[in-house]
Subunit: 260 residues, 2 copies
């Protein structure tokens, strides 16, 4: 299991200002802290980037690349920013991401082929909504898989994100049980060891405070790990969450176990 | 999911002395603390009880019954103690337990039929050893199920304990992945909603200290819950473990979610 830092978000005010001023300092600081905390990859969540998306995404990617030697995940819904990030990113950049929304398929899939890189696919309907039931997620996975193949991208490039639901949603727990089911059964359904990814913090959107957030994330994380998730996007700067990630990994690992 | 306190163990020196002297004080204290901490049942682990097993088990059961209004689980390998505990226990006592070991089948199964009570079945081979592979556990489950039926006990009385393996065992993690698999698939395999139970503290036998024990138990517990376990035997007096149990339960529950 690969731990991806979700800490580099341009929606955070300090990072938003740094990007506006093209000031690398705060970005370097976060990227270094993530590596020191044990991140095995960094998600660069650029936010909307309404003005000069290319320049800003290139700046972000170059700054992270110069600071840490970790794979990067380019997290933007803006195709121009994605193209610029891939051009600046060099090898081991992952596209985050595509869905069955026609506009995304049309503008993002060609980039995955051009750069021959991994691409995260969200299990959403063509309307961008989360499917109401587990079967809808499975159908979305099959449809995404077909789109990837039709676009000439090797299917092994697809990393499926079944979309963790906020517990505060009316049917959040049922949705998350479907998420675990999808992670467990997808390799059998698609007939190859398809990788999966999940964003842990989605779970606690709307939670009343940091203790509650941590508490539920620390309980759901082992469930994701034991379901066989390949990558988890999480707050690597929270030592409690990182400890649970490490313990869960050692429990489920096939390597020889050692405490700590 | 039912939380069963594993705290009442006569192998603890203070409780051992209390049982020797037939002094109800320390037993009442533990039983009350377990109920206050949120236990939904109490496992009465009597230890070997080499002298006067009937008298001591009856005393234990009566003392717990007089103190708390919770279902009890009679945890002894001594058939005489089990018989005495059931006689003293009244309704809602569960036998813990039976396995394919011929001596246990012969002496424990008739008690389950006589008292019409639930009975925990360990997935061990007839030699008392843990099966080396997942398939061995499945075979043990099927064999136990047949023995239960052959003894005239309704199959719904069986609660299967797949035996959590110490992580320190050479193949502990692989064994525990088999445990999760058994919990998930057993209802399909046996064709009815068969209940399962697991003892969480087995996981960390031999761990270097209480922090390490807590840490690994807190990571494995959500895995058991998301696999669909019916009952967990755990240290209800550890608030961290109880918090994880509660969060895991709320995440996987089909009831309307609420934080806390």
């Amino acid at each position: 299991m690969i731990i991806v830092a979700d800490n580099l978000r341009v929606t955070l005010p300090a990072l938003g200002r740094a990007v506006e001023r093209l000031d690398p300092g705060p970005i370097r600081e976060i990227a270094s802290a993530c590596m020191d905390a044990g991140a095995q990859a960094i998600d660069i969540n650029s936010g909307p980037l309404s003005r000069c998306p290319e320049e800003k995404m290139s700046f972000l990617v170059r700054t992270v690349r110069e600071t840490v030697d970790l794979p990067i995940v380019l997290d933007t819904a803006n195709p121009r920013a994605m193209a610029a990030g891939l051009a600046a990113g060099g090898p081991k950049a992952t596209i985050n991401g595509v869905s069955l929304e026609p506009e995304r398929l049309k503008r993002i899939l060609p980039l995955a082929r051009q750069y021959d890189c991994d691409i995260i696919g969200y299990l959403l309907g063509p309307d961008g909504h989360v499917p109401a039931h587990a079967v809808g997620r499975m159908e979305a996975a099959v449809a995404l898989f077909k789109e990837i193949q039709a676009a000439g991208i090797p299917p092994e490039r697809l990393i499926v994100d079944p979309i963790v639901a906020p517990l505060a949603w009316q049917d959040g727990n049922r949705q998350n049980m479907a998420v675990l089911e999808v992670i467990r059964t997808l390799p059998d359904l698609l007939g190859f060891p398809v990788r999966t990814i999940a964003g842990l913090s989605n779970l606690t959107t709307g939670a009343p405070g940091p203790d509650t957030r941590r508490r539920y994330q620390c309980a759901f994380l082992p469930m994701l790990v034991s379901a066989g998730i390949s990558m988890i996007l999480l707050n690597v700067l929270d030592p409690d969450i990182m400890r649970v990630a490490g313990s869960s990994q050692r429990i489920t690992d096939t390597m020889v176990f050692s405490w700590q």
